[in-house]
């Protein structure tokens, strides 16, 4: 039994048709998986199977600590979305409920290589000239 319902899988497959370029989904878990890590991995396996432009790599946070550090990952389960480069976009924890929509939306933005921000917002963000780390704390809905 999948984590996504059949009708949701069909919906996601349809919106994934908007993806134009390859998206690499990188996940960090560990050998003895906590329940959230295992469920996150299974969810990503389902999601990445819904478009041939998506690939999934699963890495071990402990045995591949150097790689985790390169991706800026400091806790698990962690999902990193890679387009033509690493944008520093991370999801920590099992995405559930509405958060799955956020993940899918971000996969599509990366796949279109376009975050679809207004000119005004893009102009403001161009003024950023030093590291900015944003953390958005959410809870399951």
């Amino acid at each position: 039994m999948g984590l996504l319902k059949e009708k949701d899988r069909e919906k996601v497959k349809k919106v994934f048709e908007e993806i134009e370029k390859d998206v690499k989904i990188v996940m960090f878990t560990q050998e003895t998986e906590c329940q959230q890590c295992e469920m996150t991995r299974k969810l990503l396996e389902e999601i990445s199977g819904l478009s041939d432009k998506l690939s999934l790599e699963v890495h071990d946070f402990v045995s591949e600590a150097g790689l985790a550090k390169n991706y800026g990952v400091d806790k698990i389960p962690a999902i990193v979305l890679i387009g033509e480069r690493d944008y520093g976009l991370h999801f920590y924890g099992l995405p559930s409920g509405f958060e799955i929509n956020v993940l899918i939306g971000d996969i599509i933005d990366v796949g279109k290589r376009n975050p679809e921000l207004s000119k005004e917002v893009t102009a403001e963000l161009a003024k950023v000239d030093r590291p900015v780390h944003i953390q958005v704390l959410v809870s399951p809905t």
Partner: protein, 58 residues
Amino acid sequence: MASDHITADMVEGSEFPFLVVKYNVSGVPHSVINEKHSIVGAQSDLEFASAILKAIGK
């Protein structure tokens, strides 16, 4: 994606309670910029961009 300087994490608060405590989170979404500046509640993209600039002193 819009800036090479910005990294962004979506964090499941229920799985990482130490962050909920660290940032004194009482409602979600709760956003934190550079571990210091908090924004509570949903914001427009522009409000968020302004908050980022404010956080870095611009």
